[in-house]
Symmetry: C2
Subunit: 760 residues, 2 copies
């Protein structure tokens, strides 16, 4: 009996550590390093799906090009911090850096790439492992091996030291991913007991005012615990007592010192809270009951397995790695932002209790409304509803009475333009997502779209366009408002609010006011109705604020009428003229195309896959009777700009939008117009995929005969019935069923007579 129990325990231990035995689990296909080299701005460290902590190495803290803190090309690591943004274009977070050292500890970071100038350390990718829920690296000079794993609200570090009488772990509270601009304005530290430390810092970052607490429990009592303030140890100088166990200030560090044996592991449990150290401890102790590093990792792997299983695909190893890493990337954000107590810090910086929902933060909405949330509406409906509940809470807490624009840990960054929480809500309503109050959500969307302060929405409502003499990025704002308004109208119509519907439908047509027929493109117009002159439709100045377009040009933005592609085709002179113009988008030589946007790559002419305004554009061919051109360009983008390597992303992943594009595209259809009742069919990129929809139904996409050459759709059947139109109705998708493509090596006549949904 004793023996067999022991055997069971051993087997259990093996099962938890010997991962190679279970090669076929989906989480094995996750390649966290994808997007870490170049512009993807992802991070390699572990996170649970939509988790609260993201433990990861930081190789940089100043460059906007390394907004996640890690750039694969960097030769040195500062240390390992607890929170990270995935794929954003602007840095923030990187809270609470943990730094193991051997010998006399350095207290300053030193300069990137200059080992010896501070505590930053050399490493080699040969001694680095990044997989789902796990990161490992050996720091070359000290020989310390660092392993990281993360659960829902807490993470664990295992630092394996060589023998040393001075093995240390420094916690640097001043470290944040600052982009040179942000700073820690205040912090405090408390040594709670002989193996526990808590702390706090208030960061004036991209998020203007972001408080965060942490807790850390060490597996071994400190031989010595020391706080440093402004580089000096906190001691009592025999005048007025000063505890060495606590400090507050702007530049604080904690140092734990140990004498270690050869290969001695020191484990550290860590967690954060926006509310208090007590809550951080509850988050920690709630997630991590024991010191079983491998057990935590395994629990997180299982969570990933479960999430990834929402879409089962067939394909090559590379395809599976690319696809499941893309799914992984869409599920790194938004992030859980609610303590184990149910409390969270609201946008009003009051403490709220999430009643009946789970609170999330990090809403990169200008990006994610396009394909990420539409994907969630299908396979993560419960979470999508809670994300909407989180946005409604933000609305209630907003002095501007607005839904979030780009919200980040109880802050509004007001990043980018539009009010794209609105299409997320409307899409969820259109896709029958349950779990939020539709009436309340509608009112919040409407109130947001009528805010008299925000940008020039009021002027837009009055004139029919945002005038460039009053407002920057006026054309992009007009086009995006018009689309957002369409989505409100969709909900209004559904709720029987016909006056509202008519009002917002009218606003949805505003795009027409900025179409200049003399050049066949969108163009800025001033308050008096005069076109912006002189005008270069390829001009883009990266210094925003001097341009009528948002991170793009007229050539790129002129396609942005997802709510009325038929109307746009008509404005552009009909299908032939439209597709001809679209062709030319892809053929501008780069030298002629807009310059100066270093972090947007993935360029084919002036089509820039590395940024969102281009994401729907290829699919427009399908609306215009030339779906084979969709197929060509989609295959080109999938092949050139996606993959399973660190440099496989061509632009910021933007909290999963770049990856969500890939997922839909692989499936053969794409939500060009979220909140509508249809998807546009492009061309599938995998032989087979089964979507396990949140409503319990399975929807299977099969691409017969697909190959590198056989990239063109020859015919399509839906549940064995021919589907001639390049549109997939949500009402069909949601029932489950089979969408079967027959692929071939040459363009076919399939889909060449489209009837655009909703067109008159």
């Amino acid at each position: 009996m004793v023996k067999s129990t022991l055997l069971s325990l051993l087997l259990l231990a093996c099962a938890q550590t010997v991962r190679s035995e279970d090669l076929h689990r989906l989480s094995d296909y996750i390649r966290p390093l994808v997007g870490t080299k170049g512009e993807g701005n992802t991070y390699p460290g572990p996170s649970a799906p939509f988790g609260m902590v993201q433990l990861s190495p930081d190789t940089d803290k100043e460059l906007w090009d390394t907004a996640s803190g890690y750039e694969y090309s960097d030769p040195t690591i500062f240390g390992f911090s607890l929170t990270h943004l995935s794929g954003t274009g602007i840095p923030d977070l990187g809270d609470f850096l943990f730094v193991p050292q051997i010998g006399k500890p350095k207290l300053i970071s030193g300069s990137k790439g200059k080992p010896g100038s501070g505590y930053l350390a050399s490493y080699s990718h040969d001694e680095e492992v990044a997989s789902a829920g796990y990161y490992q690296v050996r720091l070359r000079d000290s020989g310390v091996k660092v392993e990281l794993t993360a659960g829902e609200r807490a993470g664990m570090m295992r630092m394996t030291f060589p023998a040393s009488d001075q093995a240390t772990v420094l916690i640097d509270l001043q470290h944040v991913l600052s982009g040179k601009k942000w700073k820690v304005v205040w912090s405090h530290l408390r040594v709670e007991d002989n193996s526990t430390v808590t702390g706090y810092h208030l960061v004036n970052g991209w998020a203007k005012e972001r408080p965060l607490y942490f807790a850390a429990r060490f597996s071994r009592p400190f031989d010595k615990a020391q706080i440093f303030s402004d580089g000096k140890p906190v001691i009592y100088d025999t005048y007025r007592f000063r505890s060495s166990n606590e400090a507050a200030g702007t530049e604080l560090k904690f140092l734990a010192t140990y004498a270690t044996k050869e290969q001695e592991p020191i484990l550290i449990k860590t967690a954060v809270s926006a509310i208090s150290a007590a809550n951080a401890l509850k988050n920690l102790d709630g997630t991590l009951k024991d010191w079983n590093f491998d057990g935590l990792r395994e629990r997180t792997l299982r969570r990933w397995d479960d999430e990834l299983a929402r879409i089962k695909i067939e394909g090559t190893e590379r395809e599976k790695e690319t696809f499941y890493t893309s799914m992984y990337h869409t599920m790194l954000a938004p992030n859980l932002y609610e303590d184990a107590t149910g409390e969270y810090l609201g946008f009003d910086h009051n403490i709220h209790r999430a009643k009946g929902f789970t609170n999330y933060t990090v809403f990169s909405l200008w990006d994610t409304y396009r394909a990420t949330h539409p994907l969630f509406a299908l396979i993560e409906a419960r979470r999508d509803a809670d994300m909407i509940n989180s946005m409604l809470a933000h609305f209630d807490q907003s002095v501007e009475h607005m839904l979030p624009v780009w919200s980040l840990q109880a802050n509004e960054t007001w990043c980018m333009v539009g009010y794209h929480a609105v299409p997320v809500i409307a899409d969820a309503i259109a896709k029958d997502v349950k779990g939020f109050d539709v009436g309340r959500a509608y009112e919040a969307a409407k109130t947001t779209a009528l805010n008299p302060h925000y940008d020039s929405v009021a002027t837009y409502a009055r004139l029919g366009w945002v005038p460039f003499d009053k407002e920057n990025e006026s054309v992009s704002k007009t086009l995006e408002y018009a689309y957002d308004d369409y989505t409100i109208a969709q909900t209004a119509r559904r709720l029987g609010k016909n006056d509202d519907a008519s009002y917002f439908e009218k606003r949805a047509g505003s795009y027409k006011n900025l179409f200049d027929p003399s050049i066949g493109l969108m163009r800025g117009k001033d308050s008096a109705g005069h076109w912006h002159s002189p005008f270069n439709p390829h001009s883009y100045d990266e210094k925003a604020g001097v341009n009528d377009f948002t991170e793009g040009t007229s050539w790129q933005y002129s396609w942005y009428v997802p709510q009325d592609v038929a109307g746009l085709i008509s404005l552009m002179g009909g299908k032939e003229a439209f597709t001809k113009k679209l062709d030319s988008l892809f053929t501008f030589r780069e030298a002629e195309a807009s310059q100066g946007v270093s972090d947007i790559q993935g360029r084919i002419g002036e089509y820039w896959h590395g940024n969102e305004p281009s994401h729907h554009v290829i699919y427009l061919y399908s609306y215009a009777g030339q779906p084979w051109k969709s197929a060509e360009r989609l295959r080109e983008v999938v092949t050139k700009f996606y993959g399973n390597n660190p440099d496989s992303l061509s632009g910021n992943d933007d909290c999963g939008q770049m990856s969500a594009w890939y997922i839909f595209t692989c499936l053969g259809f794409y939500p060009v117009c979220p909140a509508s009742d249809y998807y546009v069919i492009g061309a599938p990129q995998l032989p087979k995929a089964v979507m396990h929809l949140s409503n319990g139904k399975d929807f299977t996409v099969t691409a017969e005969e697909i190959s590198e050459k056989n990239k063109y759709v020859q015919s399509v059947t839906l549940n064995d019935k021919p589907l001639d139109q390049p549109f997939l109705r949500f009402t069909d998708l949601t029932k489950g069923g089979n969408l079967t493509f027959k692929m071939g090596s040459k363009p076919s006549a399939w889909g060449t007579h489209p009837e655009i949904p909703g067109a008159p």
Copy 2:
């Protein structure tokens, strides 16, 4: 019926506004200006008893000599802030300054005494009224009349403007009573609606890390509301949206603008919270249901009437004003530090809920353990218990596992020396104060006294003294530890913990180790047991850290053995030598006495009534058989250093200790040794006083024939039985009864053969 109701209402209204009709209410005797000129460091603005807010004008923000923010001699007022310390020697608080202006508003404060250099304004004491719960001033240049009143958790301002198209109220979040050293490290502001604003600042002050939120509701919607950050209006510049209704930063101000009619009052309700703006609003709305300024004032007056009624006295107008203002001063602190929700910010900066008690902050314990808490133990027992409960919560939240030393709004300033929460607890136990856990309190006291980090307590415990080569203020620390230890021993003995009692009794005798018989005074000793040489017992260097004594000299500190006056008398050579030495304390010419302590006045030779180490000294005559000398000096101090004028306090009131000395002295007895079972009889200063003890009993002190000349005690009876000893037992006091003095113009033989309680 209707008429009579109307009449009742009118009468009620009159009762609330026509204060002069009710001349005999006790609160009328309160003179809040007492102590505002010179070193008293009190403030003139309104506060409820032990209230959470103290609305008051600030005339200074940099000088330590004006720690309360108001100095009667200053000719200008910066504005009116919400929180103030009463009588401390170090400035802090002064949170959230409200500034009314007419015409183009100034955003900077300007320099004290220089009207026109900023928003600070001239005023005249002729146009100033300060009474209990009420302050009024007319700002000379603008003509704005400002009235302030305060309730338990919220206050109200009534600003009466002249006719103006630009009448403004500025709220300056950067203003704090900074003493030049402190600063606001972060702040935020939110315009919640058209008449409500909330905000926050984090102050790095005397309290190292002090967050505070405020809420303000205006009686009239703003004509215009504007936030300024770094002196510039917060506006949207048409690039990335920025709400003008919220801001965060280091230098924030809010400006409400109105067009006003002649004599138009704008009322502002205000409250604070250490936890959140939401809680500040709850504190506000909970305390202030309506806009009835006079009603709030009346409610607060009634609270003061109730508190002051705990001791009813007979005396002259001046005596009543002095006495009830002293009672007022003892009841301005500690302060309620708990929101209407029951939550408070703990010393660990976590949010706690006060379970079964009311949480208080501002514990000036080095001062208040002497007479303030002993007074509370008699007439404010419930509050005294809750103050102890608050200190026990602090203990639980302390990483040092220590009771507070000088705690201030979730911070420990570690100000002064000793661990004087211990005698507060022991005195409450000795005085049968109910409402806290005695066992828990005892353990906290013992743990505090055994803390191995604090000052040199561990060395003191080992050697028997604090060695001056290891620690500053070593003699004062030794003497104060020894007394504190006596109080622990008292409790230990009571609880039957005899080993503990013996241990702390031994420590209580440590004072003997620092008595140098060669000079007959206390003297520093080093670790090896050598006396500090050279040695000047009159030497005092104000720069602390270079002296063996705390804010004093050997001559002043050598009397500090309250736990064993008999032992001290013996060391000093018997009663005759002792009283002779004591006589000489009062006769040093000032030129010979220690110099350099500008904020300690009230000097009679080297007796400095302006600071606490002298407070028990006069009463030592009563122990030594010369009670007539007590009577002489007490009368001298009461006459010269107390009164009803702004300059009537001779040193910092120190949260009521200076005033509590006066109260006990007037009653004729004083707690020289809190935690003992007796008081020392000096000489009463009033013809009659009735103490309504918290146990429900009345204790009446009568001084027959008392007059300016008849200052000497001739005889005493307790409940009609002669009392020959100059000691009043607590066991007698607590039963209630009559203590009757017969006074005369000459020293008598009464009390000249004292048997010191507890002496062998």
